[in-house]
Symmetry: C2
Subunit: 457 residues, 2 copies
């Protein structure tokens, strides 16, 4: 039966691609209030697609963007599948070589076919690999090999504010034996991966106000406090000369990587020079004496993701602004506590505030790091299905990114999460010219068809 | 005759105000390329007004915005009058309590009548004080007491790029005995002033690039160089803990204020607490051990006027941007050399650039500080005319602002400049809700009528 399903997937790839393109055309940028309608449209479309392949599905309203839930009957086990339909903003738009919401298949210089669009990789393409695998099983077998609940979120790129309350309110409906999350990457274009650890994330916005209005630098220059100087000085203080974060208590709970794990990482064919070289860099930044994999998989960070103050249009204006602000994120590992990191950062800023300055903070969410058990049945069965499709054993890897939902699944629903995805490092997620390999899409669908079969009891 | 001219001014104030309002309605923001048509419109309107009161006037094209020149016959001396018709941008627009280009006379809480609009004080209102004084003389006497050449610029707020070449190309046409510039302020609402020293200005934009594209902070965070961190660290380094600028050689040529001058400043009824308190501040920033007047009249500065990098829209985006940039201005005093300051700043930045970062600089102009002779006939005659109008001797003051044209008049045309203006510290120039006192406008017109009479030989 599996062979028939895989054959159906191959034969129906053009139609699968058309359906993904329909979803990619919807401008579901969750962080932009003007795109709320597009988010609703994406959720409605997905609920319709799920209904069409036998799910009891609907788009559920939340105080933010809708959450799509669908249930498909079937035998044991019962798996909860998660992905997100919202996407990152597209600025700077002028760096895109084609419109971000007009998807097309392009051919890279090395001949690879790629799906070019915002969200192609993160996460609409990944979401659709699972949905199309379910469609194939339904079409060929009239049922799915396992019982499946789908949970598709629309606020992953904007803090998932409403997800946890939704999980808490629907504990019974969302009960399952394990969760599968499709929002991660492959080890390489040829070798699949299962991600077993994730960094946590804390997002903080800091707004510093000095004078009650913008001032003329000729009249007030140097006598009046400049909030850009204050902000720059505080941000410059965040790291010491060795690249370590200087916030007191920041490293509490970080822990160390077990030597055996670190040895496995060192044995992987990871080319740090190529990783950096791909984005025009040659020298590793950050903490001294760490490898890139160690840094991005096992060390916490403090990064300024945005800064603005004063006159930023073309030309020049000799203004001393009233306000300056920055968005700062922290990636967490081990047992670092998001609330403690947020509080320590706010104290760090407040302690450095000169006279006449006020500070305001806006929280953009927080989630702890995750480490998932690699024993039990879930990961071995998933690994063998992936190995069958790709011809290589998957790498059990860490990830520098944060998928807070994995933590929520554990703490609210009591579920471990298996993270499988088909993105590549060069997919330019969150950047202009995002793409997803056509091979990731095609073999991703085939992979999920195999995993569903492997899970059946 | 002077009394008749002053009476005519009083009788015709409503019409004078209507003419100013016409000019204030034109959105001549010189730094905004989209407003080039408005700048041309303002220049054409001014040339028409000058022609109407007996000037041989025209709007002259430049590679940027036009320069208006008008000649009025008359006896000795021959004075060159300068003002500018361009204005600052209006952002942040949401802080304006009325539309910036819909002028109106409002009544302040203390009963003072004020002209509210962008450019009311800087510099359209000031420009029109002189033009209306000339109109009054022409209307009452059929001639002006002195020979007058008017020079009205449209790029003062955007670096005056084309002014100096224009002066060089029209040396003969612009020859005069002295220049009068109307772009400065009063000592207080009751006491006039003649500004005899001005700080110079250097404007620099610095753009730092790290990776070749925006990166996801989960994937690259801490391993990839963050240009916002680099920029913040460099800007934080610009000042030491005592508020001094740390750029090597920056203070070369600054000099010291003569004790006699400093004593005069200390005797002025300047209330530093009120000056700062008016804008919501209480503690003087900047160099230790200096008074506010000493700082703003006689000390150089380094101020960041704008900074931007990464994601600055509402919400959050965990991006490590490719670029971050800042606009930095330096106010110069004494013999500080603008070219040397620009070069020293660029070296300061380059010396702090970590591996993998590139820096690009954009110059936004440079001009040295000016100190004008207070002996000779110009300042005494002007001072007595001002004293007659206001009932108090004018203060001979320094200014923290920069009026590069005064330097160009000296170096290109060989002219000393007498700087008289009627702006007040609380006019909110360059800020939202700019205003000009109706009294400044009315008595400013009367003052120029008196000065023209006092100059006549």
């Amino acid at each position: 039966m599996l062979e028939n399903v895989l054959g159906w997937i191959d034969d129906n790839l053009p139609a699968s691609l058309d359906r993904l393109f329909t979803l990619l055309r919807i401008e579901s940028i969750s962080t932009d209030p003007a795109k709320a309608g597009a988010c609703r449209q994406a959720a409605d479309w997905l609920a319709g697609e799920l209904t069409g392949i036998g799910f009891d599905a609907s788009s559920r309203a939340t105080p933010g963007h809708p959450i799509v839930v669908g249930h498909h009957a079937g035998g044991a086990p019962h798996v909860l599948f998660y992905a997100h339909y919202d996407v990152q903003p597209v600025d700077p738009l002028e760096l895109w070589t084609h419109p971000p919401f007009v998807p097309e298949v392009i051919t890279a210089s090395d001949g690879r076919k790629q799906i070019a669009a915002r969200g192609a990789s993160d996460d609409k393409g990944q979401l659709m690999t699972f949905l199309e695998a379910a469609r194939a099983w339904q079409a060929v077998a009239g049922k799915l090999p396992a019982r499946v609940t789908m949970l598709l979120e629309g606020e992953e790129e904007s803090g998932s504010t409403n997800l946890r309350p939704f999980l808490e309110a629907h504990r019974g409906e969302l009960a399952a034996d394990a969760a599968f999350i499709c929002d991660t990457g492959m080890w390489s274009a040829d070798r699949p991966a299962i991600t077993t650890s994730l960094r946590g994330l804390v997002g903080e916005e800091v707004i510093i106000t000095a004078a009650s209005r913008d001032l003329h630098s000729g009249m007030y220059g140097s006598a009046a406090r400049n909030p850009i100087h204050v902000l720059a000085t505080i941000l410059a203080d965040l790291h010491d000369d060795d690249g370590r974060v200087t916030i007191p208590g920041f490293y509490d709970g970080v822990g160390t990587v077990p030597p055996a794990v670190k040895r496995q990482w060192d044995e992987l064919d990871f080319d740090a020079a190529e990783f950096l070289g791909d984005v025009g860099l040659s020298v590793r930044a950050g903490e001294r004496g760490r490898s890139v994999l160690e840094q991005t998989w096992s060390r916490p960070t403090a990064e300024v993701n945005g800064i603005v103050g004063g006159y930023i249009q073309p030309g020049f204006k000799t203004v001393i602004p009233s306000k300056a602000s920055a968005k700062v994120s922290f990636r967490l590992v081990g047992e670092q506590n998001p609330k403690a990191v947020s509080a320590a950062f706010r104290k760090f800023v407040a302690d450095r505030l000169p006279p006449d300055c006020k500070v305001e903070f806006i929280s953009h969410g927080g989630s702890p790091a995750q480490r998932l058990p690699i024993d039990g049945k879930w990961i071995p069965r998933t690994a063998s299905a992936l190995a069958a499709e790709w011809g290589q054993e998957p790498v059990l890897m860490g990830s520098g990114g944060s998928i807070p939902v994995a933590g929520d699944f554990k703490s609210v629903l009591g579920l471990d999460s298996v993270m499988v995805g088909f993105a590549l490092d060069d997919d330019r997620i969150h950047s202009p010219n995002e793409k997803y390999e056509l091979a990731s899409y095609h073999k991703g669908i085939r992979s999920w068809a195999r995993i569903l079969a492997a899970l059946a009891e």
